[in-house]
Symmetry: D2
C-alpha cells in the first residue's frame, strides 16, 4: 500500500530525526527558552527579514489558531474566514470555545477576496443594529488553503490593504506554508511585511510536530507566552521544537521539502489531466483533487490510500492525493503508470 | 408620529402596571422565590398542562437564550438553528461567548425543517472526521420566527420526532409567542409536550420586561437557577417578574394581547395586498413586511415610524411594520387610509 | 413582621414609580438610546464632573461586574479583589465563566490595601514562572464593601496610585454606593477622577432595578455597548432605566435615600452598642452586624426578619440588619424599643 | 554543571528514542487511531486491570487538565483542589479560561483530606445562598503533589468515598505518577478502581512528551475525543504517543524509571538529613526540598543547577533538587560528596 491520504502519515525527515537524536542527552531549560529555540527564532527572523518580530514555537495547528485568535480579539469580535477555513470546519469549535464567532464568507476554491472583507465590514458598521452583531475583528486566511489553492502576492497585498483600512489584524494559517512558498509568488518577507501574524507549519512538512508563529505586530506579541501556556501549547521539553526548527531552517530545508512535495504532486496532476480526469479544485500545491470514476477509484484503492473528498455524482467521486516529505519518486512513478494503464 | 417600528416602544399594559403599583410596598424575599413568582409558576404549569415542568422568569431574551443553551450543551456541541435565527444574528455572539458554535442552516422565511436537521446529524455522524467537527447538540427554533412566520403543529411534531431520534433537546424561542399562539395551531400544552424547553416572552407582549421559561425536561431543569445567576438573569427584586407574569396569565391576558396585535397586523396586511404591494415574507403575525416603492416609503415615513428591512432593488424597499399591545385601532385606521390614498 | 433582612425587599421609591407611570405610554426607541437615558447620562456626567465619561445603564450587579471585567481584561489576566468580594463569593462564578480568574486577597472587614496590591504585582512580575501564572490585570473594590465598611478618600487615592503604577484599571463596585456616599468622604467626582470605571447602584437604593456605570477611561469605554448586549444587559425597553435614573439624579434623590438608610442604620448601631452587644464588623453604612445571644436572636426573630451572618460560638450569632428606602422611622423605633426591653 | 532543577531537562530515555527511530518511516493514520496507540491503550488497560476504561494520549499536562475538567463539569461547577494544586497556580488560568472556578482548599504539604472535601460540600449545600455560589463539581488531586508528597491508599480510599457520597468525579493528576507508584502503596489498579479519571505522565519520566489518561467512568469518557481535539491535544502524528507509551509500558519501563528517580532522590534526602539540613517538605519522591544556608546554596550553585523554592529567612532558602530518567548515580555521588564536604 502506497499511502497518499495525507501529509502526516510518517515520522520526521531524516535530518530532523538525526538532530533530535544528537541533542537528546543535552540538558536544556524547559518551556522554549533554551538555546536551540533562541537560535531557531533568530534564523526565522532573518528568513523573514523581520528582525523585531516575535517568534514562538507551538505544537499543533488547532492550538496555534486558538491561541493567536484569542490574543487578537476582544470578546465582542469575531474572525472573518472562508467557509472552508480550517477554524470553521475541523477544529471542533475551538474558536467558539474560546468565546469568538467565526464569521464565514463564501469562498472560491477556499479563498476569499479583499472585496468580500471590505463589504462585510462596511455592512457591519453601517447597520443600525451594529452593536447587536459580532464585530469583525480580524481576518484569517489559509495559504495554501484547505483545498490546495494559493493566494497571489497581488491578492495578499489587496487583502492586507483592506485589513489596514478597517484596522483588522491579518492572520495567515500556514500549516502547509512550506508547499505554499514553493507554489506561489509570496515569500516569507512578504508575509512578515503584510501580516500581523502568520505561521510556518512543520507537522505537514517533515517535522514530528511543530508550528512556527511569526508576529510582526508588537501589540499582538505582547504577553503572547502567557496565552501559549494557557492554551496548553507551552511544551515542557521546548528544546524539541527548537532543535527541529533549527534543522528545518538550516539551508532552507523547509523549502526543499516543500518544493519536492509540490513537484511530485504536479507530476500527478499532469497524469490526471493527460488521462482527461477533471480536477475538483485547481490546486497547485501538494494536495491534488481528481474526480475519478467509481471504477478507477475501485482499482486504485487496492494499491494506494487516498482520501474521499466529495461525491460528485452517482458515477464519480472527488478524491485527494497528498504528497509528503516521505513520498518517493518511485511511489509517484508507480501511481502514474497505473493511471495510464487504466 | 405613529410608531410601528417595533413591539417594545411603550411601557407596560395598564393591567401590568397597575399590578406593579398595587404590590409596590409589599415586602418580598428576593431572587424569584416570593409568592408572586410561585403563583405565576403554578399558573403557567396549568396553562401548559405540565404539572412537573420547571418554570423560571428571566429578564430578557439574549440572556435567556444564552442561559438555556449553556445549560443544555456539552462543550463540544453546537446549536442548530436557521441562518436568520436571533442567536445567529442579533445577540453579539452571546452563544459563542459561552463557548458554543451556532450551526446555521439555510432557512425558508426563517424556518427550518425536520429533514434538514436529520440530514445534518446524519452527515455529522457518518463523516470520518466527525470528532474534528462541532457536534450538533440541540435545536433552536423561533416561533414566531424573526420574520413573523410560524410553524404548524405538524411541522413541530416532525421536528420533535427527529430531535428525539438524534437525542437533541428541542428549544423554542418564544420571544413573540403570545402572537404565535394567536396565529398558529400550536398551543402551550403542545409546546410543553414537544419541547425540552421553551419560553413565552413578555417584553414584546405588554410587560415592562420578562421571559417565562418552561422546562419540561427534568435533566435540563436540574440546577438551572445556578445558571440563571451566573448569566446575570436572577433579578434581585424577582417579585417584579412574579407580579407581571401573574397578571399576564390571569384570564389569559397574554393571549388577548397576542390576538389583538395579530388582528391589527392582518388588517394592515390586507391593505397592502389590496394595494397590490408585494409582501417580502408571508407573515401571519404581528410583524408585516410589505415591499414599498421609494415614493410610498417617503410619504409614509412622515407620519409613521417603521423599520427598513432590506433593499429590494433601486426602486423598492422591504420594510417592517410591527403592532404591539399599545397600538390602537385608530393608528391602524389612519395608516390604512393613508395607504389607500397613495 | 418588620423586614430588615436586605435592601431589596420592596419595590420602588414613590418618586421612581410615579415617573414610570407617567411615562408609560410615551413611545421611545429601544436599547438605551432614548431621551430619558440621554438626559440621565448627562445628569450623571455633571454629578461626576466628568463631561467626557461613558455612562451606561445595566439591569443588575452580577451582569455589570461580568461586563466591566470582561471589557477590561485580556484572556491571561485576572482581577484582584478581597476574598469577601461579591465577584469571588456570590456570583456563581460569572467572572470565571467569562474566562478570568478572581485573584482573591485576604481582606480586613472586606477591604484591601494599596500595599497588598503592590506586593501581589511585584511578586508576580519577579517570579521566574510569571508566564505560568494568571497576570493581575485590574483591581476590583466594593464601596461600601459586602460588610458595610467604606474606604476613605486617602485609601482610595493610595490604591489608585498603585493601580496607576502597575497600569491596572481600577473598578469600584458601587451596588450600595448611595449609602457609601452618605457614609464616607469619597464623592462622585472623586470616583470619576480616581477610577477607570465604577457604578452607582439603583436596586439597593430604591429603584426597581438598575446600575449606572461610569467609565472615565476612554479605552475601556470603546465598544462597551457591544459587551452589554453580549452579556444580556441591554434592556429592550431601555427607557425604564432612563426614566428611573433621571428621577434618581433629580435633586440628588439617590443621596437623600442613601443618607436616610445610613441614619436609620446608625440609630440601630447605637442601640446595639448601648446594649453592650458586640459588632461583628465596624460598619458605618446601611448594613449592621451585631452579635446576638441566641436568646436575643430568638426573641427578635418573632417580629423582625434579619439575616444570619455567621455563627460566632455556641451561644452567639452574628446577624445582619439592613435598612432600605422603605424602612420607616417607626420600624427602627420599634426595634430599638424591643432591644432595650430585652 | 550537573542539572537537577527539574525532571524535563533532557530528551527521551534511550529505549523511547530507539522506538521512535525504528518506527519513523512506518506509515500510520493520524490522530491516535493507529496500531501503536491501540496497542499502548490495551497495555495500559491491562496494567490497570480495567478492561473497559477509556484511554487517551495527550501531549502535555495543562492541556490534559483543562480537557478532563471541562469534560466533567457543568458550567456552574468548580473543581476542588489544594491551594498548591498545579491547576490553581501554574497553568495561567487555563481552567478559568475554560469557564470554571478553581475552589482552592488550604493543603498540608500539598495534600487535602476527605474531611475538607466533605465540609466544603456540606457547607455549600446548606448555605441559603447556594445557588449564588459555584457548586463543587469534582475533586482534583495531584499524586505525587507539586511538593513531592504522596497520598496513602487509605487516604485515597477515604477521599473516593466522600466523592462518591457527594457524586463528585475524582480526578488524579499523575504528571509524576511514575515516581508516585514507586513511592506509595497506591497501584494503577487502585487508581482505576477509585478514580473517575487519572493520568500517568510521560514527560517527567523519560518520554519526549505525553500524558496517558485513563477514564474508568464511562459517562466521562463519552465523546472525550471531541474535547481533546477542541483543546488542541489531538496530535496529527498521534503514532508518536503510541510508540512512546508502548515502550513505556513494555516491561513496566515507567516503573523502572520511577523507582530509579526516587531511589536517587532518597539518597540525596539522607545526605541532607545527615548533614542536619531541615527539609522544607517531607517528600518521599523525586523532588527534594532541603533548606540551605545562603553559604551552602552559594557554594553548590557553582556546580549544580537547582530551583529556588522559597525564602525561609534572611539566612536560609528552601530549594528543590529533582532527579530524572537521565540523572546518573555519579551525579548523585558527586553532590553527596560536596554536601558532606561543606
Amino acid at each position: 500500500m502506497i499511502r497518499l491520504e495525507c501529509d502526516y502519515t510518517t515520522g520526521a525527515h531524516p535530518k530532523i530525526l538525526e538532530a533530535l537524536v544528537n541533542t537528546n542527552e543535552e540538558p536544556c531549560p524547559g518551556y522554549g527558552v533554551d538555546l536551540h529555540c533562541e537560535r531557531a527564532r533568530e534564523m526565522l527572523r532573518e528568513l523573514c527579514q523581520a528582525p523585531d518580530a516575535g517568534v514562538h514555537f507551538l505544537v499543533g495547528g488547532t492550538q496555534t489558531n486558538a491561541t493567536v485568535i484569542t490574543a487578537a480579539l476582544r470578546p465582542h469580535q469575531g474572525v472573518l474566514c472562508a467557509e472552508t477555513g480550517h477554524i470553521n470546519t475541523h477544529e471542533t469549535g475551538a474558536i467558539e470555545a474560546a468565546g469568538h464567532k467565526v464569521l464565514a464568507l463564501p469562498g472560491t476554491d477556499g479563498k476569499i477576496t479583499a472585496q468580500q472583507i471590505h463589504h462585510y465590514c462596511e455592512a457591519h458598521h453601517t447597520d443600525p443594529a451594529w452593536e447587536h452583531m459580532v464585530q469583525p475583528g480580524m481576518v484569517y486566511l489559509s495559504h495554501p488553503t484547505e483545498l490546495g489553492t494559493v493566494y497571489t502576492l497581488a491578492e495578499l497585498e489587496e487583502i492586507a490593504a483592506v485589513c489596514h483600512r478597517w484596522r483588522l489584524p491579518l492572520f495567515v494559517d500556514g500549516a502547509r506554508l512550506a508547499a505554499g512558498l514553493a507554489a506561489s509568488d509570496i515569500t516569507l518577507p512578504d508575509l512578515a511585511r503584510l501580516c500581523d501574524v502568520f505561521y510556518l507549519g512543520g507537522t505537514k512538512a517533515g517535522l514530528l510536530f511543530g508550528e512556527a508563529v511569526v508576529i510582526p505586530n508588537h501589540n499582538l506579541n505582547h504577553d503572547f507566552r502567557y496565552l501559549i501556556k494557557q492554551h496548553g501549547g507551552m511544551l515542557a521539553k521546548g528544546r524539541l521544537l527548537g532543535v527541529q526548527f533549527e534543522t528545518f531552517f538550516t539551508g532552507e530545508l523547509f523549502l526543499e521539502i516543500g518544493k519536492k512535495e509540490v513537484a511530485q504532486a504536479l507530476r500527478l496532476r499532469r497524469a490526471f489531466e493527460e488521462k482527461g480526469w477533471p480536477l475538483f479544485v485547481d490546486s497547485t500545491t501538494n494536495q491534488q483533487f481528481p474526480v475519478l470514476t467509481n471504477g478507477a477509484k475501485c482499482v486504485l484503492e487496492h494499491k494506494y490510500s487516498f482520501e474521499v473528498w466529495a461525491k460528485v455524482d452517482e458515477a464519480h467521486t472527488a478524491v485527494r492525493f497528498c504528497t509528503s516529505w516521505s513520498t518517493t519518486d518511485e511511489d509517484i512513478d508507480a501511481l502514474i503508470a497505473d493511471i495510464q494503464a487504466l
